[in-house]
Symmetry: none
DNA sequence: AGCTTTTATTTGATTATTCTAAAAATAAAG
DNA sequence: CTTTATTTTTAGAATAATCAAATAAAAGCT
């Protein structure tokens, strides 16, 4: 079949629906949540969901939850693949800071050319993760999940390595930079404060830091064995 | 001043007007010509010219000729700069064929990020020409015009691009049309015949043609580096 | 100049995306 | 199981970009 060409807007909706339903499998992906994610109004989302339904990219009945179809999910994954490969290029090749790459990749991910991405991937030597530690889907749309946990769920005493973030906003990333926390940074959970859910973590140099629950909920780690 | 953000469409119009008025300084840049260039209808162009006039990117009165303003020209040049730098990247770094790069660059040229282009240019080691031999404008919008020479003065073996004519008579121009030689046509000097000063030139398709001295004295070319 | 051809603009309509305000449906609370 | 609150959809309208058909202006040709 001929490759379906979608508009920037349509692609952004697919990506938003995909990431929302990945992040919160517990909640249904609602019109409101999508609207908030892509900075638009719920009524606009309703219209677009109709359109995407006609194109068989989502299954959706009004007042019911939204779900990506196989095709829709595949397309979303390929957009994410492009986004992450471009991030590797921006960070690794052009030396952008890891907090600067997102906005540009947001634009580059919509360039239509399969060849371009294949060659870019080859040039970048088939990276497995983007600068935020997120895995890069393969050309055939397979996404291998790394064993990752949210920092807030980790037991006291565990040694960890930061492998990614859930919040990719510039504010958060810049704060991390300030704290000198990046992908690969090794930390340890010293104590969990029951009172407000904050944690005390320590670094290699034994410096300690108290981080809020909101903070620890947005840091992805893997346990160092 | 804050950077003016234009839509893809607006940028394409500016680029089209720029290249048309460069190519045919003799003719006015007409609505029809623009329409043909960007594959749209003259009526659509009229509307857009109005819009661009309001934004002070072109000067235009109906039924009169169009001209870019200083700002409009600057923006056009910066788009062309982006286009050509991306072409260098696609050809030189990702190893695309020189005939494959245009369509992708056509999309990439609209990515909005000054930093991106500055860093890309640095990564590419400040190339002066794109894969088609066209010069790359500098970051401050200066475009060095290609060095024009008369075809009769060119040494054997050189690859050239036709950039203009000295004789603008209808007879000559029609003859050129018949030979399928136009602005932009790429040729190569195969041999110079000492006897009568004629030359043998070859085309992309390897067809050869013997042209008289009178002919070659009226063709302007630039050497493709 | 006067007629014809070409070129350019206006008019009215269409598609995509978006919004506000109002209405309707669903979910939550008592 | 009503009433209230929340969520979602509808209705109506706006903007950007586009086109086809009708009209107007300019250019070309006797």
């Amino acid at each position: 079949m001929a490759p379906v060409i979608l508009s920037f807007t349509e692609e952004n909706y697919l990506k938003a629906i995909y990431t929302l339903s990945e992040k919160d499998k517990t909640f249904d992906t609602s019109t409101n949540r999508i609207a908030e994610k892509i900075n638009t109004k719920p009524s606009t989302v309703t219209d677009m969901l109709r359109k995407l339904t006609v194109k068989k990219l989502v299954t959706y009945e009004k007042y019911k939850k939204v779900q990506l179809t196989k095709t829709g999910e595949q397309m979303a994954i390929l957009i994410i693949r492009k986004h992450r490969l471009w991030e590797v290029f921006l960070h690794g090749t052009l030396k952008f800071g890891w907090d600067e790459v997102h906005d540009i990749a947001e634009q580059l991910e919509h360039i239509h050319s399969e060849q371009l991405i294949l060659r870019l991937e080859n040039f970048l030597k088939y990276p497995k993760y983007d600068p935020h530690g997120d895995p890069i889907p393969s050309a055939n749309g397979k996404l291998v999940q790394k064993q990752r946990s949210v920092l807030s769920e980790i037991d006291r005493g565990k040694s960890l390595q930061v492998v990614g973030v859930r919040d990719t906003s510039a504010v958060f990333l810049q704060y991390l930079k300030q704290l000198k926390i990046a992908i690969g940074t090794k930390i340890k959970v010293v104590e969990k404060i029951a009172y407000d859910g904050s944690l005390i973590i320590s670094f290699k140099d034994n410096n300690q830091l108290n981080v809020s629950r909101k903070f620890s909920e947005n840091i992805l780690v893997s346990v160092i064995s």
